[in-house]
């Protein structure tokens, strides 16, 4: 068997960037994303919304963890894993530019 997973996986830039087909809107104080390509609606919690805002193509994962740590210093140990997981979800859902 030849492992093709790496070859088939989309290539994401090191600095995550929001995909242009995703619209965002605040609804009742919560951030809602609309993926026009997959026709799906996502509701983000406050942490995910923070990470989403940082996905501007100028910040890497470490930058996002550091920025989040300023807001949530009490969660310092968990933030790295949280950011990686949320970015993974964004990628899996096709919300980030490849």
């Amino acid at each position: 068997m030849v492992d093709t997973s790496e070859a088939l996986a989309p290539d994401y830039p090191a600095l995550p960037l929001r995909a242009s087909h995703v619209a965002q809107r605040l609804v009742g104080g919560e951030l809602v994303l609309y993926d026009g390509k997959r026709q799906r609606v996502h509701v983000l919690n406050s942490t995910a919304a923070f990470i989403w805002a940082e996905c501007d193509g100028k910040h890497g994962q470490a930058d996002i963890v550091a920025a989040l740590a300023e807001s949530y210093p009490e969660h310092g140990d968990e933030l790295e894993g949280d950011v990686a997981r949320v970015l993974g979800v964004f990628r899996a859902e096709g919300l980030l530019k490849t």
Partner: protein, 315 residues
Amino acid sequence: MSGGGHGLAAVGMELPEAPDRALAPPEAIVVRLLSFAARVASNCPLVLRDVASLYAATAPTTCRGELGAAPHFAITEYRRDGHGPYYRLSRAGRALRVFRTPRDAVAHLEYLVNAAAARALAHNLLVHAGVVATERGGILLPGASGQGKSTLVAALCLAGFTYFSDELAVLDGESLSLLPFLKAICLKDGGWQMLAGSFEAPPPLLGAVRVDGEAVRYLPAPNPCSPDGRAEVRHVVVPVRQPGAAVALAPCSPARALAELARHSLNLPRHGRRGVESLAGIVERASCFTLTYDDLRGAVGVISDLAGQRRLVRG
């Protein structure tokens, strides 16, 4: 499955038999759901009576002649080789299925008419939801099949709410007002037992077995909205029926309610970003809740209190 002499299934068969002798010349009625119209013809008066009763809230009319480009359906009663009667359902002259009882044929026709109406009304935002209203506004009850929407809608209307639909919320593409989709309420057997055990429900218009094998009963729309009526969405209530659960109405954030409406929308891709904006506008103006329940009377009671509706049925 009972076969008769021709291997016909109890509910319907895939390959229709060609009729060799229709029993009477056909007559026709026009069924209207908002701007949609369909012509339904049959040589069986019982069939036309049943179809008319399913759409009684829209006042079907007798149809003389053709109806332009509107869909044409027919149920033809016939005998074959001394067997029958059988009931052939066709659309635009093309045979679709043969049934052994007129009621099963009518049930499938009703499904086809509603589906055709939904396609024709797709310029509006369509959401899989029950809809009732009071003088103060409409209540959207989004949810997938099997969540008890139709039973809850029937119970609410028996308690004095105005009926808009048990299945399809039609949101006007411009004003986002709720428009009535006045089909008969379709209850599965379990829903009917639940309703009849808690409320004085009117006798069903007809009982049938759908082609998916589900036994259903059609209830006349109690307290229907006028066919040209409309209502603003005042509440979005997401019903979650859980066996044994106490009745609980919990606030739901507008964003979560938007996600529910989007999940149950039938045509959001057609409306795209503008449709999402419309749904966002609706949930921002409405109050949104999740209703967990098992007891139907209790559920009707809390929705009555929410809507400021005088309780006609004590829970």
